[in-house]
C-alpha cells in the first residue's frame, strides 16, 4: 500500500518478513566462519564488470560485526554494522506488524553505499 504522493510517498512494508530476513542474516553470519571454504561471497557484478556493487563486503562486514570485530566490519563495509544494528533492534524489541517507509529510502541508501564503494575503489 502506498500513501502520500511524490517525494513523501511511503510504502507499507511487512516487518514480520523483515524480522525473518534479519534472523536469517544474523544466523548465517554466526555460522559462516564455521563452514569449510572461503568466507566471502564473490560479487557477480564485480566479477563480470569490475565495478563493485553496493553490497560488496557486506558478508565480511556482517560476519565481523556479529563476531564483535567492529573495525574489520567498518573497513569491509560500514553499512554492514548498520545492518546488524538494525537487525538486532528489529528482533529484540517489539514492533507493529507493518511500517510505513518512504519510498526513496532504499534507493537512496543503495546509492550512498555505491558512492562509498566507488570512492574506495578509486573510481570517484
Amino acid at each position: 500500500m502506498r500513501t502520500g504522493s511524490g517525494m513523501l510517498a511511503t510504502a507499507r512494508i511487512d516487518l514480520h518478513d523483515l524480522r525473518m530476513a534479519a534472523s536469517v542474516m544474523l544466523a548465517g553470519a554466526v555460522i559462516l566462519p564455521l563452514l569449510p571454504g572461503p568466507d566471502g561471497v564473490p560479487c557477480p557484478l564485480r566479477s563480470l564488470t569490475g565495478i563493485p556493487c553496493p553490497l560488496c563486503g557486506m558478508t565480511t562486514s556482517v560476519t565481523a560485526a556479529v563476531h564483535f570485530d567492529p573495525l574489520r566490519a567498518l573497513a569491509a563495509n560500514p553499512a554492514g554494522v548498520l545492518a546488524v544494528a538494525v537487525a538486532v533492534w528489529l528482533l529484540v524489541f517489539r514492533h507493529p506488524r507493518t511500517a510505513d517507509v518512504p519510498v526513496w529510502a532504499v534507493p537512496a541508501a543503495l546509492a550512498l553505499m555505491e558512492i562509498w564503494q566507488l570512492t574506495r575503489a578509486g573510481v570517484l
Binding site: 507499507r12 553490497l55 560488496c56 532504499v106
Partner: protein, 152 residues
Amino acid sequence: MSDFGSGVDGGGGNVQSGPRASFGIRFVALLIDVVLLAVVGFVVRLILGNALGSAVNLLVGLAYYGYLEGSPSGQTVGKRAMSIRVIDFTSGGPIGPGRALIRYLGRILSSIPCLLGYFWMLWDKDKQTWHDKIATTVVVPTSAYPVAAWPG
C-alpha cells in the same frame, strides 16, 4: 479448463490485491528447489563430466522453472511444498512457459548485485522481486489462490 482461482480483486483496480507469500516461505521454497537441482546437477556432472554437465544443468534449470512455473499451477517442487504459487499480477492466472522462461532469466538479473533483486521484495509494496517485476508476476499463498492439480 477449470478456474485456478483468480483470487481477490479488491478495489485495487486491475492488479491482484490478495495476500502475498512471505519472504521466509519463499526462501524455504527456494532452498528446496536449489537442493533438488543441486542433487540432479551433481548426478548429471558425474555422468557427463564437468563441461557438458554444466551446460546440461543450465538447460535442466531452464526446463524446470520454465515448465513448472509456467504450468497452470505455477508451482515448482519447492513452491508446492510451501503451498505458494506464481501467478500473473493482473489476471491472477498462470503465466505460461514463455513468461516463465523470462522470469527465470530475470532471476539472473536479481542475482547479479549479490541477490539484491531477491531481497527487494522485503520493501516492495507488492512484495515483488526483480524477476517478478520483469515477468509481471506475484507469488501468492495457495490458501488464497487454490491450485486444482499439479502441475496442471
